[in-house]
């Protein structure tokens, strides 16, 4: 009788410990989960978990605190950068990040994000742009693309009537207090690798005290786009990236 060779197990992939092992409330094909995970990975890689204070916002990602297990305060709609300013000023040694959607950040919270960025607050903002108000049922957002149909522009967004989509990474990059501003996507392995690098650099600007860090993630919302998860991911490459070009719009470390 021959002996069975010993099976050696090697762990090659694991969940970040700061990411809760719970079922997600996000819809199938939604990319908040991927982005949450990336945030969790960066917090652990930089050794920030114990000193992090997160500011959650209003929208689908209001439940950030159910998934990323750090001290968290919930901000009113759009006000996360102001709340994060208060947190950072009160506790200058903490690592402070806000996580906001496009309705929250680019519409009702436009003043708060622009001024926190312009003051150069030592905070990091993770901005998720899926071109609709997700939690309230898919209404038009300031980032909705021309021609895109939503429940409040059923014939498609019209530039003459509703203006064009706001490109936040570019707007933020124009402000003096900003150390880093980039736009990324998580629709492909290649783009995810770039996104991770951008997120790391966003966090790094705070760790090094360089200034305000901002990263815009293009993301899917299959439910409110009324398409399958696969079709939603394809839309990111076909429509979103041409309208919201990926790239680093400002990096203080690369300037003279």
């Amino acid at each position: 009788m021959s002996s069975i060779p010993e099976i050696k197990e090697e762990l090659v992939f694991d969940r970040p410990k700061v990411l809760a092992d719970v079922p997600s409330h996000y819809c199938p094909g939604c990319q908040h989960g991927v982005i949450h995970r990336m945030v969790a990975e960066c917090l652990e890689e930089f050794g920030l978990v114990e000193k992090t204070i997160a500011v959650s916002s209003i929208g689908c990602s209001v439940f950030l605190y159910n998934y990323i297990l750090v001290d968290t305060v919930e901000a009113p709609h759009g006000r996360a950068p102001a709340v994060a300013t208060g947190v950072k000023r009160a506790r200058t040694d903490a690592f402070v990040f806000a996580y906001q959607g496009d309705g929250d950040l680019a519409s009702i919270g436009l003043a708060e994000i622009m001024h926190a960025a312009n003051r150069g607050e030592r905070i990091s903002v993770v901005f998720v742009n899926n071109t609709v108000y997700g939690m309230t049922g898919g209404q038009m957002a300031p980032t909705t693309m021309i021609g895109q149909k939503t429940t409040t522009c059923p014939a498609g967004r019209c530039a003459e009537r509703e203006g064009g989509p706001m490109r936040m990474a570019e707007l933020i990059a124009s402000l003096d207090g900003v150390a880093y501003s980039a736009r990324v996507a998580v629709n492909s392995i290649k783009n995810m690798a770039q996104a991770k690098r951008a997120l790391r650099r966003t966090f790094e600007t705070q760790i090094k005290g360089e200034g305000f860090g901002f990263v815009e993630f293009l993301a899917t919302c299959p439910t409110n786009w009324r398409v399958s998860p696969v079709a939603a991911n394809e839309r990111v490459a076909k429509e979103m990236i041409p309208g919201f070009p990926l790239g680093v719009y400002k990096d203080a470390a690369k300037e003279d």
Partner: protein, 353 residues
């Protein structure tokens, strides 16, 4: 040992009181008639090792307050009526999330842009919640520059005792006038304050969460029950000035600067032989309803005087309901009253029996 008396404005007394009470974060936005506060704190706060931010709006200032409060650091924002309207969103969230902070309203005339002179038009907004949802904010009404200083200490104590926003409701009179103020020994910063709830970064403990969203079945009702119990407990904090009510037939009820002006009129009429007293609520929420009810039970009559069209008078009438009523004399915001203006209305109310 307290420091030497200083001759300062009510606005400055609030700024200095806040620093001495351990306030280390200030967020503000310019608006008349309270600009002395952000102006003095823009240098005094950093000098004390604290943080000063001129916010982009009162909306942002109040949300910065919310953020600093979540960290358990004594923090304050100050404004005047139109600005305080903009803060109501954050104040509601702070009440819902049980966050302590001090909000100063140097009440000016309204509605709308109104004027920059004194008014008591924000009484309802201050004591009935002000923003959305069922909540209350402790509300303190100083009548002198010394009270501006002292009540700022009280405001921070109460904010942390109850984990609730506390309002200081002054007006353009008390904010802009100068009086001698005796400062107190500054309080040491207590690093243990808020120790079991404040956000510090989780370290080795379980993460903490400060929020006002309660979606699970029955969770919001539970939170509201908890808040309601807290508001009941706050009734123990009632403060008021009682001036010669025991032998009075008529009790004048007035708060803040108007309470002080009315007191001069009451004193003059007492000298002329009329049996009049004054009850000046210092806490507007909680309202001194038991004191008023006891006076009503003793057969007193009431005249409420306000610098508005009749707001606190509703609470006086509720306090004495079934036993007495209250007459009302209102000075329209936009006019500045003198003690003489109150003499005739008080005399008429005294005769009205």
């Amino acid at each position: 040992m307290s420091a030497k008396r200083v001759f300062i404005k009510g606005n400055e007394a609030i700024g200095q009181g806040a620093l001495a009470a351990g306030c280390r974060c200030y967020f503000g936005y310019p608006i008349t008639p309270q600009n002395d506060i952000p102006e003095m704190l823009s240098s005094a706060m950093p000098a004390a090792g604290g943080q000063f931010v001129q916010a982009e709006s009162e909306v942002a200032a109040a949300n910065m307050l919310l953020g600093a409060a979540a960290c358990g650091v004594r923090a304050m924002t100050t404004s005047s009526s139109p600005g305080v309207s903009l803060m109501q969103e954050a104040i509601s969230y702070m009440a819902g999330s049980e966050l302590p902070g001090v909000i100063v309203n140097m009440n000016r005339g309204g509605p709308g842009l109104g004027d920059i002179g004194p008014s008591q038009g924000d009484y309802f907004q201050s004591v009935k919640g002000g923003g959305h949802g069922d909540y209350r904010t402790l509300t303190l009404a100083p009548a002198t520059c010394q009270e501006c200083y002292d009540l700022t200490f009280t405001a921070f104590e109460l904010a942390y005792k109850y984990r609730n926003p506390v309002l200081i409701l002054g007006d353009a009179i008390v904010g802009q006038m100068k009086e001698p103020v005796t400062p107190r020994e500054p309080l040491p910063i207590d690093p243990a304050e808020g120790g079991d709830w404040k956000l510090t970064g989780r370290g080795e403990r379980a993460p903490r969460l400060l929020k006002s969203l309660f979606l699970e079945d029955g969770a919001l009702a539970g939170q509201n029950r908890l808040l309601q119990k807290k508001y009941e407990a706050m009734r123990a904090e009632v403060l008021y000035e009682d001036f010669e009510t025991a032998a009075a037939d008529l009790v004048v009820v007035a708060y803040g600067s108007i309470g002080r002006i009315a007191k001069t009129a009451v004193r003059a009429l007492r000298d002329a032989g009329l049996k009049i007293g004054l009850l000046r609520p210092i806490t507007l929420y909680p309202f001194p309803e038991e004191a008023l009810r006891a006076l009503a039970a003793a057969g007193k009559r009431f005249l409420t005087i306000e610098h508005n069209l009749g707001q606190m008078v509703d609470d006086v009438r509720l306090a004495v309901r079934g036993l007495a009523d209250s007459d009302f004399y209102g000075v329209f915001p936009g006019n500045l009253p003198t003690p003489d203006e109150f003499v005739e209305p008080i005399r008429a109310a005294a005769k009205g029996a």
